[in-house]
């Protein structure tokens, strides 16, 4: 399984940023099992790329192929299936249900296409140190805690690609390592790929490739 980027170019990007980029306007292939680090400065379109891959935005030229099918031709139902089975994500802005409890936030994702049992949620929460937050409202958790909730949520489904958009920005060194370990384990079980986009290379993420955006 692979994702191919063919001459993908956001419609809004400045000329000088394209020349430096290893991704924009190039042909790039991401394979399952790979660990890919995308390094980019602010404003170079990192979040846009992640959103293009997840199918949230379509304001680009060129094409993105998943399993040789252009995702720009997917309809709403096909995207729903794509997001249930093939691709998972940790958003930079997290996108949690603020008025629901942490457990509800995790369960709503898990029930959609369960990969783990409910007890696994508690185990993961414990591993990342938020086990006592499960029954608290999400909006009462700190940003760092919310980041860990978003990470655990992304691991509740089957996937071939895990998209991470600055997933550790509010975590300390210790928590970053724990979270990274958990994600690498889960990805390995699924023989999936991690595509991690961040401002600079993260040393404890053993990337197979580092691409500068």
């Amino acid at each position: 399984m692979q994702i191919q980027l063919q001459q993908v170019l956001p419609t809004f990007i400045e000329e000088e940023k394209i020349a430096q980029s290893k991704i924009w306007n190039n042909n790039v292939v991401f394979n399952t099992g790979e660990k890919i680090q995308i390094v980019a400065a602010s404003g170079s379109g990192k979040t846009s790329l992640i959103h293009f891959l997840y199918g949230l935005r379509k304001d680009y030229n060129g094409s993105i192929l998943y399993d040789n099918n252009s995702i720009s031709h997917f309809d709403a139902e096909k995207f729903a299936t794509y997001r249930q089975q093939n691709i998972s994500i940790v958003f930079q802005d997290l996108r949690l249900f603020a008025e629901q409890t942490v457990l509800q936030n995790l369960e709503i994702k898990r029930q959609l296409n369960p990969y783990h049992t409910e007890s696994k949620i508690a185990a993961m929460a414990k591993r990342l140190g938020i086990e006592n937050k499960l029954h608290k409202l999400c909006k009462t958790c700190s940003y760092g805690e919310q980041q860990r909730i978003a990470i655990i949520r992304s691991l509740q489904q089957p996937f071939n690609f895990l998209l991470l958009d600055e997933p550790f920005s509010h975590l300390d060194e210790n928590n970053r390592k724990k979270a990274m370990e958990l994600m690498e384990e889960e990805t390995a079980i699924r023989k999936a790929a991690i595509i991690l986009a961040d401002l600079k290379a993260i040393e404890y993420f053993k990337a197979d490739r580092i691409l500068h955006l």
């Binding site: 949230l56 709403a76 139902e77 997001r83 709503i108």
Partner: protein
Amino acid sequence: MLSFKHIAPFLNTGQNKVSRWFSYIGLGIGVLLLLCSVQMYININQLLKERNPKKTGFDFISVTKIITDENMARDNRFTPDNLKEIQSQLFIDDAAPLIANQFRVKASAGNIIPFSTDLFLESINEKFIDTVPPNFTWQEGQTDVPIIFSSDFLEMYNVFAPSQDLPQLSQNTISSVKIMLECYGPAGVQTFRGQIVAISDRINSILVPDNFMQMANKNFGGVTVVPASRIYLRTKDANNPELLSFLQQKNYHVNKDKTKFGRIKQILQAIVSGLAGFGVLVILLAMVLFSFYLQLMIARSKENLQLLLTLGYSPHWLSKTVAKKWIPVYVVVVITAVLLTALLHWGFQYFVMKGREELSPFIHWIVLAIAIALLALSVAVNFRLVKKLLYKL
């Protein structure tokens, strides 16, 4: 298995209780009005249709043109085109003209009853006569003419006979009376012997066989084509509102008593149709109100719904699941309306109609079919609406 219960906490379904309840009640009232109207429509049809079971299954009615001050100087008989037009109407099974004599006829009863009078004769297609004995035939050269006499005329005769010192006659004795028919033509008078061979309850006239009338009109009146001043209609239902509107529109006169129920039916059906129309309007308003509630609920839950879609929830599944939540409500509303209709109909049949047999105490199957159709419609409209709103997010 995912169900509404899982996503319920993410939707603001509890909002706007008042408008939601108004729409439920509105829907109930609308459905009740519509179902009751349909049931009443059926009741009216059943009550006013076959009042007198007809042996032949047909009603026969005599139609004339209305004579008014304006048209009395003109010929108000039916032209062949008029007849064709009448025959072509779907609600008229058949129509035949009554042809009158175009010459002077004088009748006398000979020596037994000292009575003589100028008379009129008519003829009509035999199919339209209720009592046609086998001897109601006439051949060229025959001096005996069979006559079918109206029972009303017999009754009238028996009313004035005693005052004129004439004997009263029964239906049996009248057939033994020989009537001398004197026909006046350009070549003089010719006398025929008339014999009453049958009494007709249906046609108010003195009928002779068709071919006798043709011959007589030609020989004594000098005419071959005679326009009809009366036309007899044969119809499945003399109270059919369509027939009545046609006759009214053409300015044709018809026996009011025969079509009285038709007139009542016309008015009642108009009232009931109006009520049904009002019911449909109320249903539409209730649906609009409910759609406002749905729009508001979805607008208030917009962010959550968007996030559910982002997480991979299928818009089709979401709309199906959200829409399904209201199916039980619709079922309860429609079943309540059906039960109330059944109760009202039963009350009408039992208390107003005193349990008359023409009406079944149960509601008609059409009413049930309409209820089911309305239920299906509500569910379909609701599903489409939710889907449209969700796809717009």
